[in-house]
């Protein structure tokens, strides 16, 4: 059934009793042309584009929990493409372009809200770094502009631009097309779209092993729902990538860190855009529901526990209160953690592996949600064709051997 104002109206008249399933919940078949491990946003998008653009429909997406239950449901919903290096610019901008048409493409309102992402500069080093971004982005044809403190305040009235505070705002960069999107909607929209194109999304099905034939190529997966044969596997397991790849004997340049976020109680609109500050270590936006959505930095040590430490919440909130004094009286409603897989250069790995038939898409760190459509799109191409398209080509595993790193962390000093 096509979603529209009309269908909402007609179904409403019938008491909303006839809405169809958004996605099927099938049992696994014995064999598939390709298997995607991980039904997060990236995995579901990969399956969707494999079916839609590469004509592959005998695909299964295996998920050990429930679809979209990992980072898609835990991130702070920020989207932007103002990265520094052109390799990063290309893939995040690719995602941005796809996202602009995504609601219609999926017939699912992902609530992409280009409300602007502003990054605050508090010292001269910040200014140098952010202006370098602005110039690099403009050359790449990506919108990103420099604002004076007064212009920044005009765009986000909540901002405190007094000169005598501990970390005064001395400028800001702004990507107007940046903003937020509804995280669950992206995962669910892709799931519904993929399912309608014949993709089997199999939840509560944990992969326990990866089978390889005499030549060393992959030939199937062992799961909690039995063995499934396939010659092509795409691993899109985010924080659990190292664990899954180890099943194929591949060691990765990855570490999994907890990333915490929290929300306030809902209040009437007070925050029109997304604001980030790396010097003060805080970023914040306001959801359509009215909650202030606040992100912390990654925890200090690797972990798969999705729980938050009190000191992390404290460190995040003292920064937020310093940046936005009026929020001091608001209250924290919910605090949670996700797991992000981080590479040494803070850029993703999208590529082949030493194992024939095994492909990996990981290492998105804190950029995963921003990249989802683009990541799925290029990875679909890689898994379907066996060769990366231009945008994905630089993000090989091999770059760590040759030293051709794409170091967003070192260059950008931008954490999120």
């Amino acid at each position: 059934m096509k979603y529209s104002a009309l269908s909402v109206f007609l179904q409403g008249l019938k008491g909303n009793r006839d809405w169809p399933e958004q996605w099927r919940s099938p049992e696994p078949k014995s064999t598939y042309d390709a298997i995607i491990i991980g039904a997060g946003g990236h995995g579901l998008a990969t399956a969707y584009y494999m079916a839609k653009e590469h004509g592959l429909t005998r695909i299964a997406v295996l998920e050990k929990g429930w679809l979209g239950g990992g980072n898609p449901g835990r991130n702070t919903t920020i989207v932007r493409s103002n990265y520094l290096w052109e390799e990063s610019e290309a893939i995040y901008e690719h995602a941005m372009k796809l996202r602009e048409g995504l609601s219609h493409d999926l017939n699912y309102n992902v609530m992409y809200s280009p409300r602007g992402v502003m990054m605050l500069a508090h010292n001269i080093h910040d200014v140098q770094v952010f202006k370098r971004h602005v110039h690099a982005n403009r050359l790449a044809g990506i919108d990103n502009e420099w604002l004076t403190p007064e212009e920044a305040k005009a765009f986000c009235p909540l901002l405190n631009i007094e000169k005598n505070i501990r970390y005064p705002v001395i400028g800001a960069s702004l990507q107007r097309r940046g903003g937020t999107a509804r995280h669950d909607a992206v995962a669910w929209g892709y799931a519904r779209g993929a399912s309608r194109l014949g993709v089997d999304i199999i939840q509560n099905c944990e992969v326990k092993g990866i089978r390889r034939d005499a030549t060393g190529a992959v030939c199937g997966v062992e799961t909690t729902k039995g063995v499934i044969a396939t010659k092509r596997i795409g691993v899109v397991a985010a924080g659990n990538t190292s664990v899954v790849m180890a099943m194929a004997g591949v060691r990765m340049p990855l570490e999994s860190y907890p990333l915490q976020a929290l929300v306030s109680e809902p209040v009437k609109p007070m925050m029109p855009c997304v604001v980030m500050s790396n010097t003060v270590h805080a970023y914040m936006s306001q959801s359509d529901k009215g909650e202030l959505v606040i992100g912390a930095g990654t925890d200090a040590y690797t972990s798969y526990s999705q729980t938050g430490g009190l000191h992390i919440a404290r460190h995040t909130l003292d920064a937020i209160c310093e940046l936005f004094p009026p929020v001091r009286r608001l209250r924290m409603l919910r605090n949670w953690g996700g797991i992000v897989d981080v590479t040494p250069d803070r850029s993703p790995i999208i590529g082949k592996t030493p194992v024939p038939g095994l492909f990996v898409n990981c290492g998105w760190g804190t950029g995963g949600f921003k990249a989802t459509p683009g990541s799925g799109h290029v990875f679909a191409h890689l898994v379907a064709r066996g060769e990366p398209e231009a945008i994905a080509a630089p993000f090989t595993l091999d770059r760590f051997r040759t030293g051709r790193l794409i170091d967003e962390a070192a260059a950008a000093a931008v954490a999120h």
Binding site: S242, L254, Y301, T302, Y304
Partner: protein
């Protein structure tokens, strides 16, 4: 906030006093120039990142200043044991609390 037993102070101390140092027992090649690009990349970047027991480095940077190793369950964050740098990884025993 974890409590971590510093093997040099022989005392449980709050996590805030420590700095995480990544995977333990990743030894620097004795003759780096003799290693292949693959081996060097593996030393520099490849990490076990296990879901479960993890041998890792910590430094009691705001305490005695020493680097040491810990055996931690990365799922529960429970630290099974800590031991001095340079000593081999022990069997996963001992109370973590």
């Amino acid at each position: 906030m974890l409590l971590i037993r510093c093997p040099y102070c022989e005392m449980d101390r709050p996590e805030l006093e420590f700095r995480y140092g990544g995977e333990a027992h990743v030894a620097r090649p004795l003759d780096p120039m003799a290693t292949t690009d693959e081996d060097w990349a593996s030393y520099l970047y490849v990490r076990a990142n296990p879901r479960g027991l993890h041998a890792e480095r910590w430094r009691h940077i705001h305490g005695c200043g020493r680097f040491f190793n810990a055996l931690r369950d990365t799922v529960s964050d429970r630290i099974m044991t800590t031991y001095k740098a340079g000593t081999p990884r022990p069997a996963a025993t001992g109370g973590g609390r």
